[in-house]
Symmetry: D2
């Protein structure tokens, strides 16, 4: 019963197999190999337009490099106040961006509220005293396990566009979002106004591979230099390319995500039936639920693994002394049995 | 009727005279001159302990260098959400601090609320995902024209100390605060838990001189290197020292601040009598008041100079379509006549 | 006949096998897994003392993070003028180090000359005008395929110690150096005055795994924060640990390096016999040789892969119009047949 | 007999008078005042084209901000190995430039040699491994007291232009150079291929005022943001503008520089007559001469002030145990009497 995170999962079998296949004779280093070239074409096909792709080792690097590339150091990046880039990356966006400023904004269900964005843009002193609005960053799926609809994204990117800001999407769980929406990757990104996507494969089943996808290759100019000096140009690059290629081939990424999403829905249904309705709609592979302290202790004692969710500043769900909010994450490896065992534990008399 | 800012004022006569006196034969550059040595002694006497002092050209540099020196790049600096360092310095703290993170917190009357600080410290993921709480930054006098009492400062620095954070004070209007409180500079700084003070003379009457004061000289180690590479070591340093020396001599700084504070009180009284009570207590040299749009237009037409106050995100005083909040700043040059003319304008039938 | 670089090689079989073994059930992310714990113990055993180890994705990151951790932003890092950190990392040391300064110094055979280091330390204005000498960086094996002896390292680190500088070793090819010297890893590092080692496994046979090894764990304090914000904390960390563990187990790293070194010696012998003596002693897995333009063209036409060596600023070997210096790198995959075919090509009448 | 530096001098009388004149009623802060507007026009007139001007507090800031604005963080800035930006600014260019790289090149008489620049451009690995050549920085007058001729500048900027690099001029002693050449400021800057000039007034006679002059205003875009976040936007900006305005008015800057240059020539003549010929041509206001240790001690004992010149790495003049190279700097305040007294001291029997 491991619901700690989707990055506790192993490598998906087809991805490991791809690594093994790639492990033949010599290949040019630093991305000059045929596998990388093929992957770039696959990305362009997937997104139905020519894109510029840069693989890196971690999601934090993918986000931070993308933000740094589209914001000047004196830029403001607007994001949800619970966004991973704001709370979990130890200041990487500020570091890579030479001191750019993240501005966290509120919004229900982990979704940035258009009114909050508009209000933030309307306030503030002008240049050169205030930093300049440069980027809107959306997390898809969100940190609360919800998924922005196409209309919700378009409403936000429209505000950004009018303020001459670019749009970044943190897609650490992009696969879960696309699987949930059932839309095309193109529709939910550039057609909806997104300029750059940090597309994660690691949480979805890779060993470690993240892609920065620029939908306008012109905006990617010099990104090779930025990636290199950030220590993110992998020398045996073919193995990163092989992972991502296998992830995208034959819709593996969507199959794995559908599995994880399904496990989360099964969890949510079981919890609701047990009288513990999730805090936010369960649309991807994360479930948040408030559990009484006694139950929390009992679950842990039985070996269930998950994290408490920081809640002190959470307007949707203020902290209470006798209970806590927990986060349950499913992955492509989560089995029905694991879920059912967990629900059974919950339903057991305390 | 110029209430735009205290930095629109000229140089106070005794400070200009000091510049003229300092303009004699050659003197060693870069702070190795006798005037600078004397100033350092004066600072130590003023604060009743040995301090380490670094003069710089602007308040933004003073704040940003102080923060950078006491926070690692992965540190969080907690400040009021309206703090100058957060809203008006174009990301200087993040730049000088190699990407440190400012965390804006709410609080009435421009004063950071202890509960908000405690809540912020209690939330957040642990290291290495979340940045580490490193600094508390207090603005004295605040951006709202109020002044922290000794007890209020001690309550906040106590929380900081228990969380192993250092404490910075933005004293661009430190003189106004000390004049208002009538306390000793030592009491309101290091005796109340402050580690470093950005002590401004420019708004108070200098041409341009700001001091970074470390109350524990040991914590200032290498600050000379940091200042130099930031382009803030003035070559003809004696002229900055001369300004500050004259500012501090014979309590000039307090006399000038008392004058400015008095003008603000006169403004506040006149406004209140005219039915326009200030939004926040007028304790230093700034007055904030909501004025109907018609009056706003009339005042401007009559030549009154002041700025509108960004209010869109202001919980204390939400934006309204038919009025706006204006900021009136007095200085050592503000005359009773200016104030009275302004009040008279306000009382005129519209 | 691929002598382009050792990073064009595949993954060594035992390392791939270790990845496959590690690919079982869930494991804690971010290095909190048992494999990582075991690896840390293995490193301490290997170096005969408690060390602090941080795995990262690339050698550039390993070097840059290590340098940034031991130098203030106003520090000078002295290195050979041909050092990888100075010429091939696109400014990563300066980026990670918030603007620290690399100072390239001359020295024969790719080895920094003690006299050049002493001279550099003796020159320069004092603080705060000049940056402060903070680090000595040695590359072992060097960029010229030579290996510092213990005595050579000790002579340099002794100068560094007297100048209160720390010592970094770029060990992208540390395995080749240790294999060549036949000494213990402890002797050639901390016992010889090295404070931090960037220990590479990628060129030696891994998919991608580099270790930053601090010989005094106290100096590694907060390195977890620095690594995280640099986007170098791998979420599925167990797979990096598994690679390095297999690399170190049963002296695999030395066996692979010995193979590569042997291939280089075979190359050198063949070249010398053909009248093309290498430019510098062949002590590790790189061979540098000047070839006439005609031969160069013929080799390439026959499918031999290698890079030209930038030589314009090279005092040891000034550029000539009718020839060029080429670099031949062997790896654990280089076969005798490959080498012999290459030598045969060279000996063929032009 | 103070020849320590031209920044030990006082404020020139017409500049102090301008400060006094500017010290009247209120004026808009942050450069929105009439004096600043007038100064901008004066600069455009002086340079015979529309320029964009940004005043800052120090020469280090002027240089570092200019370099940072015209080089990406992954850029290389080529300069003379003795350039102030490389040796005396404590890493400010790297700090402001987010880690850009300075590449010091040799050249006689403090002048960068075209062949050295060409060689440096021809070497190096390509992108993304090597940093990209971005800027050429020339110091005029040089650190050795010499002055580039128009032809020398054009030869270097021509190489830069062909390599798509921009050109920066460190003009801390620009006045001395223009006075020496007797040319127009336009001829020696943009007409000769210079893109940005750091034009110093402080050494020439101001209290503290330095100008960054962009000859193509388009390239200055966002410089206001960069200056602000660097803590270099002076709030009482009118006083910086007043200084520079007086400096430029009625050719004061050239008159003061001619005086300083004349004093240096008088020094050089006296030294030469005494058998101590200067090391490099004396073309501006600095004289470098090797003096026996005994004389050095005697001069100091007699109260002469000057600095030793770091020479350990100096190919033109290698260090010798029984003598040292000293630097003598004259300023607008240097009197014939001071010079003659100094020469007399030298000629006295030891």
């Amino acid at each position: 019963m491991n619901f700690a995170s989707d990055n506790t999962a192993r490598i998906a079998a087809p991805i490991l197999a791809a690594l093994e296949r790639a492990n033949c004779g010599p290949a040019p280093a630093y991305g000059n190999d045929p596998l990388t070239a093929a992957l770039e074409q696959r990305f362009s096909a997937l997104f139905e337009r020519e894109v510029a792709v840069f693989l890196v080792a971690t999601g934090t690097a993918a986000n931070a490099l993308a933000l740094a590339h589209l914001s000047p150091p004196w830029g403001a990046v607007f994001c949800h106040e619970r966004a991973h880039i704001a709370t979990d990356e130890c200041g990487a966006p500020e570091f890579f961006g030479d001191g750019l400023k993240l501005v966290g904004l509120p919004g229900q269900d982990g979704k940035l509220a258009p009114a909050a964005l508009s209000a933030a843009l309307a306030s503030g002193r002008g240049p050169p005293h205030a930093v300049r609005p440069a980027l809107l960053s959306l997390t898809q799926a969100t940190e609360c396990g919800t998924v922005y609809t196409l209309a919700e994204i378009a409403a936000l990117t429209d505000i950004a566009r009018r303020a001459r800001m670019a749009v970044h999407m943190d897609g650490a769980r992009f696969a879960n979002a696309v699987a949930a929406l059932g839309c095309s990757p193109a529709d939910i990104t550039w057609r909806a106004g997104v300029d750059v996507l940090a597309f994660g494969a690691t949480k979805g089943g890779a060993l470690g591979a993240e892609a920065i996808v620029f939908f306008d290759p012109e905006r990617a100019r010099d990104m090779d230099m930025r990636r290199m000096r950030a220590g993110q140009l992998l020398s045996k690059h073919r193995f990163a390319a092989a992972q991502f290629d296998a992830f995208l081939a034959d819709d593996l990424w969507l199959d794995l995500a559908r599995h994880a999403n399904g496990a989360a829905r099964r969890l949510a249904a079981g919890l609701t039936a047990a009288g513990l309705a999730p805090l936010w709609p369960v649309e991807a592979n994360e479930v948040f639920v408030r559990v009484p302290s006694g139950l929390d202790a009992r679950l842990k004692a039985a070996g269930a693994l998950y994290y408490a969710w920081p809640e002190a500043l959470d307007a949707d769900s203020p902290a209470r002394p006798d209970s806590s909010v927990i986060r349950l994450v499913s992955s492509f490896t989560t089995t029905d049995e694991e879920v059912d065992n967990f629900i059974q534990l919950i339903r057991m008399p305390g």
